[in-house]
């Protein structure tokens, strides 16, 4: 029994890592007042570029860095459109997702070696393997935390740092004020445009990193639609976590756990058709959203940043 719990928890954390990175990223973006629905596209582009870069360089770090840069580039486009050009943020984000999805698919059929008729699908590249921490890795249940790959270990550090920066530093306060009341923040001397650009690009960087974890660690290799809607689940997780990076972990564990249970049930040969098991994460997302929204209405607490999705127009002086 303990073994089973440990193994489920191990898969849970592994499946949740990409979600945590992207959720923390999107939390920062939304806290600054920008909604980026392009997470799915940025994660897909991150995944394909990470795999291609790692495959050709033989270097995992290169893969991760390239994925982060690609995520930053795509989110910079979103930032430019929604901050400078005051475009509709929902549509701009959807565009990033549609373009990212198409481009990732294109690259997956173009970047491969000639021997594989230019496809990336089916290639085996370098991958992050789990490293067991001495002693701690042997513990029952808790051992799951210490039997992970490097990117997951880094995630353990990123979450508290992201929380501290947002809620315990001056810059974090500025970021939050830009998302709540940009006019006031501007009057206080905060550069609203700069903060929003940085927060959006930071979010894209973490989305790329999340994508890299998928193609380099969780399900190594490139396959079409490798994210399977994770970029969208992330948007829901931000709401679930009430725009708090620390609580993002809870959501990611919930959804990682659903993945792990799915795996387990399928491996155990259940009579439930696979299609219905595969629906679980999506149905759970809807359920969680309804529950959180209902609770928000009931407790009259508004989680979303006040200026979310509203372009900031600075009056000419």
């Amino acid at each position: 029994m303990l073994l089973l719990i440990t193994s489920i928890l191990t898969i849970t954390l592994r499946a949740g890592t990409s979600l945590v990175y992207a959720t923390v990223g999107e939390t920062y973006t939304e806290r600054s007042g920008i909604l980026n629905l392009g997470m799915e596209g940025m994660m897909l582009m991150g995944a394909v570029s990470a795999f291609a870069a790692a495959y050709y360089s033989g270097n995992l770090l290169a893969g991760v860095l390239v994925a982060m840069l690609v995520g930053m580039a795509l989110s910079a486009v979103h930032a430019f459109l929604s901050i400078t050009m005051r475009a509709n943020q929902v549509v701009s984000g959807l565009c990033i997702t549609l373009f990212g999805g198409g481009m990732a698919s294109y690259l997956g059929q173009r970047l491969g070696p000639e021997s594989n008729s230019y496809y990336l699908v089916g290639l085996v590249g370098p991958r992050f393997t789990p490293i067991s921490v001495p002693v701690l890795g042997r513990l029952p249940v808790f051992g799951a935390v210490f039997n992970q790959d490097v990117l997951t270990y880094i995630m353990y550090a990123v979450v508290p740092l992201a929380w501290m920066y947002l809620f315990r530093t001056r810059d974090g306060l500025n970021l939050r004020s830009v998302g709540e009341k940009p006019h006031t923040a501007d009057a206080m001397g905060v550069n609203v445009f700069r903060v929003r650009y940085l927060a959006t690009i930071f979010g894209g960087m973490l989305a790329g990193l999340g994508g890299a974890h998928l193609s380099l660690a969780y399900t190594p290799g490139w396959s079409e639609n490798i994210t399977g809607g994770r970029g969208w689940i992330v948007i829901a997780l931000v709401i679930f976590a009430m725009w708090n990076p620390a609580r993002a972990v809870l959501g990611a564990i919930l959804f990682g756990g659903i993945n792990a249970v799915q795996f387990r049930l399928q491996a155990a040969g259940t009579t439930i058709p696979a299609a219905f098991l595969n629906m679980l994460p999506y149905l759970a997302t809807i359920f969680v959203l309804v529950a959180v929204t209902w609770w928000e209405n009931l407790s009259k607490r508004l989680g979303a940043p006040g200026a979310l999705c509203k372009p900031y127009i600075r009056e000419e002086k």
């Binding site: 459109l81 549609l98 198409g102 969208w232």
Partner: protein, 357 residues
């Protein structure tokens, strides 16, 4: 001297037309860069794409085949988008529409008068689409649940459900293991008018005209427009926002459902792989590029269908991935979004002496 944006008093009509057209050409330029980097000649690619999509009559009818579901789903999402209700679930609504149509065609057609089979199966398909859009609409109207996410999540549920059916219980036992249902009886076939292009084209054109009129002239159209522009004003005018949203979304879902219904009864004539291939997502591009105008949406749908048919041709002729069509479709809105600011603002040059600042 510097550029300043000055608010226009009325939305510029010229910009409304010019911005999408310029956007299309800018996106071609952007994609040319991508093509050049991947060592393909942009000029040759575009010529091949254009010929593949519009060059011959048979090719053009294939473009129409792809344009029909884009027209219907484009119209569908445009209704929702007008109210700033982000229905990105057209894909799932289309899929469930196809499933429901298949259900009637396969299991209920025997006991029905033959002339009723087709209308009944199409109507049930529309109802299924309406139901699938109605769930997020009610959740949003009653509880303010984020509709972007619920509509999207239901896409995955609908697609998995349809796969379950044609891989599992509905699979044709005489299909040699091919994933798909048995073919529909002929009474459930939607007549074709040119090549494989079917009567769905007439439905789409008719519905676009009705919608164009209804949005402009009817009480409902007025409510939809006000809700999109200013919800507070809508409330002051005594509009029941929740009710209008739910009713409009039922209509939106029904249109997507009709798209799916026409696909299965007009093209594949069975439920099989290839129904959910992203029409519902491309519909977002169609609706936005058409500035949510029903008539413009018809033409933009043909253009977008041309890009995807052209993409397939490019794969066959030049060995480039067919996803090039998707890349082009994805690129098209970026310049459009950047340019939309000129609908509301006009750029003016202000002369400022350096010393005053």
């Amino acid at each position: 001297m510097r550029f300043v944006l000055e608010k226009r008093e009325t939305t510029s009509r010229l910009a409304l037309v010019l911005v999408p057209v310029v956007s299309f050409f800018v996106s071609l330029l952007l994609a040319a860069v991508i093509l050049s980097i991947s060592r393909a000649s942009p000029f040759k690619t575009y010529t091949a794409m254009f010929r593949g999509a519009f060059g011959t009559w048979p090719n053009f009818t294939e473009t129409l085949v792809k344009a029909i579901p884009l027209m219907l789903t484009g119209l569908a999402v445009s209704i929702a988008f007008r109210m700033e209700f982000w229905n990105i679930g057209a894909e799932g609504q289309l899929t469930l529409g196809g499933v429901a149509t298949a259900w009637v065609a396969l299991f209920w057609s025997g006991g029905m008068p033959p002339f009723l089979v087709l209308p009944a199966s199409l109507i049930v398909g529309m109802l299924a689409g309406a139901l699938w859009a109605g769930i997020p609409a009610v959740l949003n109207a009653r509880l303010k649940v984020n509709e972007t996410l619920t509509t999207l999540m239901l896409n995955y549920v609908a697609i998995l459900f349809s796969e379950h059916l044609y891989y599992g219980p509905w699979r044709d036992p005489k299909g040699y293991g091919f994933p798909g249902t048995a073919p529909f009886p002929e009474t459930a076939w939607l007549p074709r008018i040119a090549g494989r292009a079917h009567m769905g084209l007439l439905f789409a054109v008719f519905l676009a005209l009705v919608l164009w009129f209804a949005i402009k002239r009817s009480r409902w159209g007025f409510e939809v427009r006000i809700i999109g522009k200013n919800r507070t004003a809508a409330r002051f005018l005594g509009i029941n926002i929740g009710r209008t949203i739910v009713l409009s979304l039922l209509l939106s879902g029904a249109l997507s459902g009709l798209a799916g219904a026409c696909e299965v009864s007009g093209i594949s004539r069975r439920l099989q792989q290839g129904l959910s291939i992203g029409y519902g997502y491309t519909a977002i591009i169609v609706a936005w590029l058409g500035q949510l105008n029903p008539i413009a949406i018809l033409f933009v749908a043909i253009l977008m269908a041309g890009l995807s048919v052209g993409g397939d041709q490019v794969q066959m002729i030049m060995g480039l991935p067919a996803a090039m069509g998707m890349v082009l479709q994805g690129l098209i809105l970026f310049p459009m979004l950047a340019g939309a600011i000129f609908n509301e603002y006009r750029p003016v040059i202000v002369k400022t002496a350096a010393s005053t600042r």
